[in-house]
């Protein structure tokens, strides 16, 4: 018996070793594959930046950098001279975004505070998915409503010639930024330790005082981060501003002027230009500026959020 089984055992154990090796190789291969996938994602962000940069460089062979950043006139089809100044676009973008933030920040924080402080568990469970619906509405639909619904209202209420102006864009962008601000602010408020509130109640403060002086300050970094994320979204939003702001290229003087933001300039003009013309490269330069602006806002909100998570851990 023992003579017969002995070699079999050796063969078996050899097979096991062999299999183990095969498993190890397979394991390492899978890990490597997953790592490569993850690195692809990093490459994507760098790729976006590099491609934009690559396509921007030829633009500045024709256009002076100073002219590009400091003149307001954008007139690529100019008769005497083509003009590429993005100042008016940048101001328009910032103006529409600022308008949106003025509306969305108090409204968003107020709603988050309502969900956190006033709504009971059941109401909250119903309201949160309902607000999520708002986030699911495509920007083109919001822009469409800006034309057919909000535009006429603005015309009537303010007695202006056209309802398609910066104000319209601001209101629509506020609607689009709201879900982001509400959900992240609410998370921030929820993560304030209960003991903070209890200590405040114990000292005789009522719920409003506790909310305003204890809970909101404690959650402030999360709330600020939520507003910045909402702002990043508003800066980069294309379809709503393209449809609802009137798209005039002049420097805006008030919220009732039609404006053309950086995003809508790209959206309108890229379809019409010849590939590899100066105008084409100039649009990529606008894209790069846009990318850097949103990148800066997102990074800033990231830093703020991290800080607040660290504080929470302590």
């Amino acid at each position: 018996m023992s003579i017969g089984t002995f070699p079999v055992d050796i063969i078996k154990s050899r097979m096991v070793v062999h299999c183990m090796k095969a498993y190890k190789i397979k394991e390492e291969a899978i890990k490597l594959f997953l790592l490569i996938c993850s690195i692809t994602v990093v490459m994507l962000l760098f790729g976006i930046f590099l491609l934009l940069l690559l396509k921007t460089i030829p633009a500045f062979k024709e256009i002076s950098i100073k002219e590009f950043f400091t003149t307001p006139l954008w007139n690529p089809a100019g008769y005497y001279k083509e003009q590429y100044g993005i100042l008016a676009m940048v101001v328009s973008t910032l103006m529409v975004t600022a308008g949106a933030m003025i509306i969305a920040v108090p409204l968003g924080i107020g709603t988050a505070a309502y969900l956190n402080e006033i709504a009971n568990h059941k109401v909250r469970e119903i309201l949160k998915p309902i607000i999520e619906i708002l986030a699911g509405i495509p920007s083109v639909v919001i822009g469409f409503l800006g034309i057919v619904l909000l535009g006429p209202i603005i015309t009537k209420v303010f007695g202006v010639k056209s309802g398609l102006n910066a104000l319209n864009g601001s209101i629509l962008l506020a609607v689009m930024a709201l879900p982001t601000i509400i959900s992240i602010s609410e998370d921030a408020l929820n993560s304030v330790p209960k003991s903070f509130g209890e200590a405040s109640y114990a000292l005789g403060a009522n719920r409003w005082q506790t909310l305003v002086r204890i809970k909101i300050p404690a959650a402030l970094s999360g709330i600020i981060a939520s507003c910045m994320l909402g702002m990043g979204r508003a800066i980069g939003e294309t379809m709503t501003v393209l449809m609802a702001t009137g798209c005039a290229t002049a420097m805006p003087h008030s919220f009732f002027d039609p404006v053309r933001t950086m995003t809508s300039a790209i959206a309108i003009e890229l379809g019409e230009v010849a590939f590899d013309s100066t105008h084409y490269y100039a649009l990529f330069a606008v894209g790069l500026v846009l990318f850097l602006m949103t990148f800066a806002v997102n990074m800033a909100s990231d830093v703020i959020l991290n800080k607040y998570q660290l504080m929470e851990r302590k």
């Binding site: 990093v42 709603t111 639909v141 409003w208 980069g236 990148f295």
Partner: protein, 288 residues
Amino acid sequence: MKLQKNKILQAVGFSFLTLCILIVLTILCVILFDITAKGIKSVSWSFLTEMPRKGMTEGGIMPAIAGTILVTFITAVLAVPLGCFVAIYLNEYAKDTKLTRLIRLTIRNLSGVPSIVYGLFGVVLFVQSLKFGTCLLSAGLTLGLLTLPWTITASEEALKTVPKSYREGAYALGATKWQVIRTNVLPYAFGGILTGAILGVARAAGETAPILFTGAAFYLPFLPESGFDQFMALPYHLYILATQHHAIGQVRPLAYATALVLLALIFSMNFIAIIIRYRIRKKTMLVH
């Protein structure tokens, strides 16, 4: 006296908060009501199944619906598996190194990149460099890249919900890491990953800016035959009907109906995702 004042202050403050939520809910109701009330009149079976006729002033939006479904499919094929792989790496393999932190930082930043910038990237990479031309494939891949950060985040959330004991049990039986992931982690997280994937892809289906220059066609009364054809898409079609059409007043009812169909498509995808999530919750509650 002071107590009285505080009480009044609280009442005023709380009514402000209530006002806030009421405004938000009103906005949502107005949006949904306006689109539904004005769009439903023009939605009919023939509107959904016919080709557009006479410069889009008559007929249906079938090619736009089909185009959106096809492009969404390509989006899902790119974004869902890749998102899942990255999430598995981050949640199961990655240690807290500089590289891992860089990957996470990148993902958060990618989700903040404006959709029109993805459009520019798609034009250069897919349309020009890879010479796909403006077509279904270019648009789908561009949307796929846009969706990637969302599917990664959602998949990772789903993987995080898998209890540690599931992994430890399998390790105790001598399983390797990948075996543990394949047999114990993924089946448990599958529903969550699916929910996140559907939600992400539904958002991509409503995007317009990335497909403006990568493949969407103004007016194309037939279906794309391959991935290298241009296509009509619901959001782009709505944009055209709302702003670029020669008879804007005449096609307004059609624009409303298109908006309604687009919303219905996206909401039904979201609804499916929510139902899946609900059923999983129930199932996992029974297990524990």
